[in-house]
C-alpha cells in the first residue's frame, strides 16, 4: 500500500504508454518526466523545510520549558504558511550601494546547489533520481557551491557585517570540508564504491550498519556536517551577537526566504547523507523503505537541533584550531585504521 516506488513505476509506465499511443517523441517524454520528478522533489523539500522550521521552534521552546507557537492552527502548525505568505508579500529591498548582479544571484545559487544535491540521495528502495556511480563525490562537490553563494551574498551586500559573515563562512566550510570528506572516505573504503545505492545495499542488517564499523568516522562526519550547515555550536557566520545576522543581513522578502529555505534543505541533506552512509539508509524491517529513511533522517535532525539548544557557540580561533589541529588528525587516524583493518 505504502510502497511508493511501485506507485511511481506504475505512473511512469502509464505515462509512457500514453505518450507512445499519442506518438510523442521520446525526447519530449523524457523531458516531461524529468520536470515532473524535479517538481516532486521541490515540493517534498519545501514541505520538509516548512515542517523543520516549525519543529525547530517547537523543540527549542520545549528545551526551554516553553510552548513555542501555539495560536495559529493546532499547536502553531499553521505558523509557517502564515510566515511564508508574509515573506512573499514583503517589500524586496536591494541596498543602493550593493553589487546588484552578485546580490541578486547569490540566493539563487545557494538554492540551486542545495536542490541539485538531492539528485543522488536515495529516499528509499528505488526512490533515487539518478544513481550516479560517483554519487557521494557528486554530493560533496555540489554542496561546496554553498560557500560561493555565501561569499557572494557577503560581498554583494556592501555591508561590513555580511562581509565578515561571508569570510567566516568561507574559512569554516573550507576547513571542515576536509575532515568531512576524509570521514566519508572510510565508508567508501569499506564499501569499495562511491554509488549511494551500493553503499546502502552493503548495510542490509542492523549489525552491518557502518556506524558499528566506523564509530569515529560517524562522530567526525556529524561534527563536520554541523559546521558545514552553519549551525550551533559552529554558527559563527551568522552569530547574532557579533554580526547581527551575518551574510544575509541585507536580504529581505523572498530572497531572504531562499537563504532560509536552503539552510534547512542543507540540514536535511547532511542528515540524509549521514543516514545513507552510516545508519543503513532505507534498510529496516516491516515498514516501507522510505519511512525508515525518513525516520532515521528526522532522528539525526533532532540530534542536531539538540546540539543547538545545548552547546554555546565556539570562538572563531577555537573553531579553526579544533578543525585543523584536532578533527583533521583524527580523521586521518580513522582513515588509516580503516585501511589497516578492512
Amino acid at each position: 500500500m505504502l510502497e511508493l516506488e511501485r506507485l511511481f513505476k506504475a505512473v511512469y509506465l502509464w505515462l509512457e504508454r500514453i505518450s507512445g499511443s499519442l506518438g510523442i517523441p521520446h525526447f519530449w517524454f523524457d523531458l516531461f518526466t524529468m520536470i515532473l520528478v524535479a517538481g516532486i522533489i521541490l515540493a517534498v523539500m519545501s514541505i520538509a523545510a516548512m515542517f523543520l522550521v516549525w519543529w525547530e521552534r517547537k523543540i527549542g521552546a520545549h528545551f526551554q520549558v516553553r510552548f513555542g507557537p501555539m495560536r495559529t492552527g493546532w499547536h502553531g502548525s499553521l505558523q509557517l504558511p502564515a510566515d511564508g505568505i508574509k515573506l512573499l508579500l514583503k517589500e524586496d529591498t536591494t541596498p543602493a550601494a550593493a553589487d546588484k548582479p552578485v546580490f541578486l544571484i547569490a540566493p539563487v545559487i545557494i538554492f540551486v546547489a542545495s536542490f541539485l544535491a538531492f539528485v543522488c540521495l536515495p529516499f528509499g528502495k528505488g526512490l533515487i533520481v539518478r544513481d550516479l556511480n560517483i554519487g557521494i563525490l557528486y554530493i560533496l562537490a555540489i554542496t561546496t557551491f554553498t560557500v560561493v553563494s555565501i561569499l557572494m551574498a557577503g560581498w554583494g551586500s556592501n555591508n561590513k557585517y555580511s562581509l565578515l559573515g561571508g569570510f567566516r563562512s568561507a574559512a569554516q566550510i573550507i576547513s571542515y570540508e576536509v575532515p568531512l570528506t576524509l570521514s566519508v572516505l572510510g565508508v567508501v573504503l569499506l564499501t569499495q564504491s562511491l554509488s549511494m545505492v551500493k553503499i546502502v545495499s552493503a548495510q542490509e542488517q542492523v549489525w552491518n550498519w557502518n556506524i558499528w564499523k566506523q564509530p569515529l568516522g560517524f562522530l567526525i562526519y556529524l561534527t563536520a556536517a554541523v559546521a558545514e550547515v552553519n549551525r550551533t555550536p559552529f554558527d559563527i557566520p551568522e552569530a547574532e551577537q557579533e554580526l547581527v545576522a551575518g551574510y544575509n543581513i541585507e536580504y529581505s522578502g523572498m530572497k531572504w526566504a531562499m537563504f532560509f529555505f536552503a539552510e534547512y534543505t542543507n540540514l536535511v541533506l547532511v542528515c540524509g547523507v549521514a543516514t545513507t552512509l552510516f545508519l543503513g539508509g532505507w534498510n529496516g524491517p516491516i515498514l516501507p523503505s522510505w519511512i525508515w529513511f525518513l525516520a532515521k533522517t528526522l532522528f539525526l535532525i533532532w540530534v542536531v537541533m539538540w546540539f543547538r539548544w545545548t552547546f554555546p557557540r565556539v570562538r572563531v580561533d577555537q573553531l579553526m584550531a579544533f578543525g585543523w589541529k584536532f578533527l583533521l588528525p583524527l580523521a586521518f587516524l580513522n582513515l588509516i585504521l580503516t585501511g589497516l583493518l578492512a
Binding site: 521552546a61 520545549h62 528545551f63 526551554q64 520549558v65 510552548f67 539538540w306 546540539f307 552547546f311
Partner: protein, 151 residues
Amino acid sequence: MNIIKITANGIYNLILGMWTTVKYLFSHAITLQYPKERWPMPERSRGVVVLTTDPETGKLKCIACAMCVKTCPTSAITMEPETDETGKKQRYPKVFQVDQGVCIFCGLCEEVCPVKEKAIKFVNQYEFSVYTKQELIYDMEKLAEIGKGSK
C-alpha cells in the same frame, strides 16, 4: 597523556550538558497560556478599588466619612456627602469617584475605613485596561457593580 585526559573530560561534559537539556525537553512546559488560563489570585491581592454593598439592604456600606478621601496620597478619590434626613440622619455619598489611573494601590483607604468589613476595598480583579484615561475614572455605580461581582 594530557590531551587524552582533556578530550575525555570534554566529551564527558558535552554528554552531561546534553543529558541536562534532554531532561528539560521531556518535562512539562511551565508557560501559562494567558488569556486562556489565569493564575489564581491571592485573597488579599490589590487589584481595582471598589465599593461594597450591604447584602441585607442592598445599599452601599459607605457612611461618607471622607476618611479615605483625606488619606489618599494621590487624591484619587472624589466624594460628595449627603445626609439622609429621614429616621436616623444617616450620611451617604452622593458622588463617589475613583480615578484608577491615579490610584497607586497602596491600600490606605481600605485600612482607614471605619465601617465593619470595609466599605471601600481592593478586589483581585486586575484586568481593567481601557483605551482612554477618561474611562479609568469609575463612578459610584460602576464601583458598586464591580464590588458586587468580585471578591
